[in-house]
Amino acid sequence: MDAVAPARPPIDSRPTMARRLNDWGLLLGVIGSIVGFLVGWAIGSVAIAYSFGADNSLGSDPGILLGYSLSVVGFLAGMGFLNYPIGRLMGRPKASEEDNAYLHGEGGGISRYFRMTTDHKVIGLQYLVMILAFLFIGGLGAMFIRAELLTPSPTVATPQSYLTLVGLHSTLMIFMASAAIIGPFGNYFVPIMIGSRNMAFPRLEALTFWLLPPAGLILLSTVFLGGFTTGWTGYAPLSDQNVAGMDSYLMAFALIGLSIGLSGLNMIATIITKRAPGMPLTRMPIFVWGVFVTSFLGLLAAPALIGAVLMETIDRSFQTTFYVPAGGGSPFLWENLFWFFGHPEVYIFMIPAFGIVMEMLPVFTRRPLWGYRVSIAGMAGIGLLSFTVWQHHLFVSGLAPSLRPFYMFSTELISVPTGIVYLVALGSMWRARTRFSTPMLYIGAFFFNFLIGGFTGVFLSDVPSDFTLHASYFVQAHFHYTIMGAEVFALMAAIVYFLPKMTGFTMDTKLLKFQFWAVFLTFNGTFISLICVGILGMTRRTISYASYLQPLNVSASVFAFGLGTSMALFLGILIWEAVIKRTRAVDNPWESLGVEWQVPTPVPVFNFDRVPTAWSLPYDYDTGKPATDLGSVTPALSGA
């Protein structure tokens, strides 16, 4: 199966002590995290009891926060992330090439998916699993929310747990969305697409993934600390008021911010310095461009979040008053800092989705990507503008009314580079004999949903209409159309499209086509109902609502249950076909010209035995010329 002879002779199989520990890393990590939490919790509580004499110091914020921090450190230490830095600090000799290769997953079987591995392909699959876990746990929350909103007064949940439910759903989904495309597919395919044998910082890449599981668990652990009632925006000073459950939110969000920033750094460094000779920036696949732009957003936006969260934790732990008006602080400070991160964040969701959709489109239209350069300009423009619009979240906050025209204008300006994406899609499909394979269906739905998302955005960017629609279900439906309707549909398309390459198995069955129509119709049914509810004045995050809104809410709920079922069906097909039944996929089922489809399946541990230096764009479907020539290892390209 493995057509490529590794660049070095294979490593000896005698496991050293280090490798044994590495194999048991996950277990050690769990132990380390528990120990770390207890130690930090004890230290923090004792310190608090000593300095403030708080009688309930066991539930005190410093104790919880220190416990969380040390548990993360303990987890990473157990996973073996500290071996390298400590070794360098003590000036130990660098690890042997064999140990590095082992760490890279060479020779490791299934077990390398459950330990710290520096192989970007393993990390991509780990990301995929984690993303799906976040997606479906958060989706379960959505089901509970819709069940609650069947009636105008509390039934399924108490007001308290309902708000925590909303917070968990939204925050988990934000975690999911901020890595949904760039995590699995960026990590897996960017090095292959640019002809590199690995990432610039493989250990850092592993770290950015292994920060996610602690973040998710810490966030979920809020139910043991009384939950938090602020939703995912965590507005101060309500967050100052909350019980210790708030600390879970802050800690988890800080970890995610760290992960976003570090993966951005890693991606940029990889794309700039690890491209194969013969691949200038202007010959990179469009998806790599999307990841490139996104990484800058992540790198430059995440620090703002980390700073804001840091001040909030200090507010809670030591009663400083950054966000407390009575103490000289200001709630507007949090709103500004948070949305300065928060708006680039939503384009951290979207730009990789644009990229991967434009990457897949030519394969199904059998046409070159129409307007490669202008689409790059479009994504870069979105990235630049996204830093200048954050106050459109604050139109009704009473903050700086004189600035509203500017933010209205900059917000509406973003529709120009976004429109370019549609132009490119139209151009690529024009006069093309499009193949309606399953991924193409999801791509069509992507453009349909995002069009609605964009046009609802116009109403929100215009200040007078925003006064009616702000903080209503209209907003909620708007960003569900962009994030779920566009990004998650792109995610599903990408899973169906890339699964044969990532696992060697296919999930493309007749049932999947049915699943597409089910998810498409129920999704639109749900959120069109919610658009109407919002226009009629239903506000977000309320467990009780005016009774005249009940019929629309019931329809939204019923459609939402259908949506949940069809999403579960997607997961079911994925697990059944790819994990249980293991339906073998043919090589290059979509007859793509991309280099990622020419390397053998499964991809060799170091991708290429020798990196080709002659590259062109992988979209020459008129000439059928592949992106590059891998020589003998290239399997003959069927069709095209």
Binding site: A326, P331, V396, P405, F409, L413, P464, T539, D622
Partner: protein, 279 residues
């Protein structure tokens, strides 16, 4: 080829029909939030204009997208396309970008004009003492909205600064809401009047509006403010005639008599008394 041309004509025809029909519908349909105040009718007008402007573009893009996807099934194009054409067309791209920019400019100018015509809110003013009752309808009647976890109360500085739990407004009278909060961030939303203003502690958020329809309405909190956020809504806000308003004010003054001596002097923001509330 001919059959493709027909298809394109059919497409354009359908699109025109769709756009016109849709716009007529949008033009006639009642638009939220209704006409209960000058602000509300202004906002519903904006929503109407935006949707009427947006619908043709929306349906056009959609029709174009799916036309390109479908037509080649039954009417494949025979014309030869050069490799260059396949990879882009700078003139077309430029036209598209210019068009969208122009659309955005029109949109932004329209919104800005709307803002200039009717500034719906925001801004912090200096603290003012109790005001004399307004003598004319266009002289604003100041009403303070005090948000606290988890109820709105209202103060009428022009009537001795009485505080009430129910919001009652005289019809046809220009109202100046001064929205503030005592603890966390709330948002005061009088949907029918098209009023939405965040209530931020130690901040005074002003909205000016003239209610035009007598009726009973709902006010609610639209910014997540904690446990009872979902219940922080009143269905008892009323817009009444001037006469009814006068009698209501008298009743409230009588009801408030016992507590008046305890109420703080009217102010646009209320700082907590550090002597009582240190933290």
């Amino acid at each position: 080829m001919r059959n493709r041309a027909t298809a394109i004509r059919v497409l354009i025809g359908t699109w025109i029909v769709l756009a016109v029909a849709g716009d007529i519908g949008l033009g006639l349909a009642p638009m939220p939030p209704g006409l209960a105040s000058n602000l509300a009718s202004d906002e519903s007008e904006v929503i109407r204009v935006l949707s009427m402007a947006g619908w043709p573009i929306f349906s056009g893009v959609l029709a174009g997208l799916f036309f390109t996807l479908i037509i080649n099934k039954f009417a494949p194009s025979q014309s030869e396309v050069t490799a260059v054409e396949l990879r882009g067309n700078s003139r077309l791209q430029a036209t598209w970008i210019v068009t969208t920019v122009v659309l955005v400019l029109i949109l932004a100018t329209y919104g800005t004009v709307e803002l200039a015509v009717e500034e719906p809110g925001g801004g912090i003013t200096t603290v003012s003492a109790a005001l004399p009752a307004p003598t004319s309808a266009d002289q604003p009647l100041e009403v303070q909205v005090i948000a606290q976890q988890w109820w709105f109360t209202f103060r009428y500085p022009t009537y001795g600064g009485i505080e009430t739990a129910q919001l009652v407004l005289p019809v046809g009278q220009k109202i100046e809401f001064n929205v503030t909060s005592l603890d966390v961030v709330h948002s005061f939303n009088f949907y029918a009047l098209g009023v939405k203003a965040d209530a931020v502690p130690l901040n005074d958020n002003q909205v000016t509006v003239t209610p035009t329809e007598i009726g009973t309405y709902r006010v609610q909190c639209t910014e997540l403010c904690g446990l009872w956020h979902g219940n922080m809504a009143e269905n008892t806000a009323m817009v009444v005639s001037q006469a009814d308003f006068a009698t209501w004010i008298q009743q409230q003054t009588a009801l408030d008599a016992p507590v008046m001596k305890y109420l703080p002097p009217y102010s646009h923001t209320y700082e907590p008394d550090p002597a009582v509330y240190g933290h």
